[in-house]
């Protein structure tokens, strides 16, 4: 499948559903009533440790709650500052926000092999249809792999668990530079040797045959026949 196919809606999704009990979540919005009650409002003030501060809608209150959005040189109350400690404080908050985001973004989809295995494969996006087919080919050839389809960055904590559970993980990507693999290495501090890049970048869509062939070849290389068996 090409990204173009996705863009042209050449694939079906399940019918969309809507829960009528669902309410819109506008996040942490401070109202005029809350401001009048004396709540401490700072546009970049992290009140509960998740790195996501309250905001106000423009025009909320005549004298409280307004702020001027600009660059990164400002303190917890959106006041301009060039102090290093203030800057570092805001950067630390952004790190906390990034951590919070990890468990809020769409979770990766995991599917395990028919048999327990120490090998895994990670992929994403338009590689998915080819991967579904490739897994069938690999299973038929006796290669069993657990698979994880990544759907968001920053990575959900289950990505780290998946890496820990497998000795080798293939990372299948349609780019020359193994960009997802680099992200995984950087984010998880993992030994790069354990992440085997399977790269496809000749301009055509990746195929199940390519994936199964590349992974199958690598698996075959890993199979070392003991010398005594060769001699006998």
């Amino acid at each position: 499948m090409l990204d173009l196919d996705i863009g042209m809606n050449h694939r079906l999704s399940r019918p969309l559903k809507w829960d009528d009990a669902r309410l819109y979540d506008r996040g942490k919005v401070m109202t005029a009533e809350m401001l009048d009650e004396g709540r401490d409002f700072g546009r970049y003030l992290d009140v509960d440790g998740d790195g996501i501060p309250f905001r106000t809608y423009p025009g909320t209150h005549p004298t409280k709650g307004s702020y001027f959005t600009r660059g990164t040189s400002r303190d917890r109350y959106a006041r301009y500052s060039e102090e290093g400690a203030v800057y570092a404080d805001n950067m630390q908050r952004l790190l906390r926000k990034f951590e919070t985001a990890k468990d809020m973004v769409p979770r990766p989809l995991q599917a395990n092999a028919q048999k327990p295995t120490k090998y895994g494969v990670i992929y994403y996006g338009s590689t998915s249809p080819a991967m579904d087919e490739a897994i069938g080919l690999l299973e038929a050839g006796g290669h069993h792999l657990d698979r994880l389809r990544i759907r968001a960055f920053p990575f959900h904590s289950s990505v780290a668990s998946f890496l820990a559970e497998h000795d080798f993980v293939y990372v299948v990507e349609q780019n020359r530079d193994a960009q997802l693999r680099s992200l995984i290495v950087n984010e998880n501090g993992i030994d790069p040797v354990r992440l085997v890049p399977i790269l496809h970048y000749d301009g055509t869509p990746i195929t199940a045959r390519f994936i199964a062939g590349a992974i199958g070849d690598h698996q075959d290389q890993l199979k070392v026949t003991p010398l005594r068996k060769v001699k006998s």
């Binding site: 559903k17 809507w18 819109y24 909320t60 004298t63 307004s66 959005t69 600009r70």
Partner: protein, 351 residues
């Protein structure tokens, strides 16, 4: 300068407007621009216009791009929400904010680099869509923050501080705004507050895309002999076509105008603009004539200022899109979501 807090004490006898605010209530932080910068005069004019109109400061959203001009929203209306956006992106941020909440007053502040170069497309589309806003360009013809390179509004033949001649043709934002269908177009000069303040007031009360190009000399890099954006040059070549008085409310006009010298224009919200003609040939209701007049006088090296065009029957983007009167950001699930039954019906229609 940024660490200096502005003292809050004020003279008890300061004049108050209808809301009981003094002009101090419309101020912002201490300016960090160069002493004598034309932009600070525009800031003062915005403060005065908002004070005169008795606008509640928190009902204004002030939005800017990047540059010396775009820093100024920090220096006025300290109780307003402000957004110092990305370079040249003020118009799209403003358009989005306006669509989300049509009840606020939108004040876009930009510069010649911000609007005539990197944000030229954004400027054009916000004008042609008729976003209800006051779009002020603080036009000094140079990039002041990066030591005075010519911007796209610098006139051909004008000289830089180092004596280099500009060989590129200038973009005249007023001419472009007229061509794009702006329904309120004015040009003024930061050194002429008497002209500028009423123009800002009228623009704020205008329902539609109101554009004001304010020539604002850069005292550090573009205020020398040979510059066409210097205080001296603009004063010598200023060709004001009219003077404006803004009359709010329904009270009768008490100013004594000589018969035939004044044209009264009534805007949508009842604001009346009293246009005193300084140039008998100038007609501020005729877009084509305004464009021709502008071209003719620009070719002669004159800087045409005043209210150059106004359409009192203007419509804004919300009217074109037929949006509801309630600001979109106040609509809840009941008003917005058609629910699962409607979704099921839609799904069925695709099978």
């Amino acid at each position: 300068m940024t660490y200096i807090a502005k003292p809050k004490f004020q003279h008890p006898g300061l004049p108050k407007n209808d809301l009981g605010y003094t002009h101090r209530d419309y101020e912002g932080k201490v300016s960090t621009l160069c002493a004598g910068c034309g932009h600070d005069s525009i800031t003062a004019s915005i403060i005065e216009a908002c004070f005169h109109l008795s606008i509640e400061p928190h009902r204004v959203a002030k939005i800017s791009g990047i540059g010396c001009s775009s820093k100024t929203p920090d220096y006025f209306l300290g109780n307003s929400h402000g957004f110092n956006s990305v370079h040249g992106r003020m118009p799209s941020v403003l358009t989005g904010a306006n669509l989300a909440n049509r009840d606020l007053i939108y004040l876009g502040v930009s510069g010649d680099g911000d609007s005539a170069s990197i944000g030229f497309g954004q400027f054009a589309h916000s004008i042609r869509r008729g976003v209800n806003m006051t779009y002020i360009v603080e036009n000094n013809g140079v990039y002041g923050l990066t030591k005075g390179q010519f911007s796209a509004t610098a006139d051909r033949g004008s000289k830089s501080k180092k004596g280099v001649m500009n060989t590129d043709n200038a973009i005249d934002l007023v001419a472009i705004a007229l061509q794009l269908g702006a329904t309120f177009v004015a040009r003024s000069f930061s050194g002429d507050k008497t002209q500028l303040v009423p123009l800002i007031e009228a623009a704020i009360r205008h329902k539609g895309a109101a554009f004001i190009d304010v020539i604002s000399p850069c005292v550090a890099f573009n205020n020398h002999a040979g510059s066409t954006k210097s205080f001296d040059y603009v004063r010598e070549h200023n060709d004001a076509v009219n003077r404006l008085d803004v009359i709010t409310g329904r009270e009768p006009i008490t100013v004594d105008y000589a018969p035939g010298s004044v044209q009264i224009v009534e805007q949508h919200d009842g604001t009346r603009l009293a246009l005193r003609k300084l140039d008998a040939d100038y007609e501020a209701h005729d877009r084509l004539a305004a464009m021709a007049f502008l071209q003719k006088h620009t070719a002669k090296g004159q800087v045409v200022t005043g209210l150059l065009y106004v359409d009192p029957e203007a419509e804004d983007l919300h009217a074109h899109l037929d949006t509801v009167d309630t600001p979109l950001n106040q609509l809840d699930e009941k008003a917005l979501c058609p629910g699962s039954a409607a979704l099921d019906k839609f799904n069925a229609s695709l099978r």
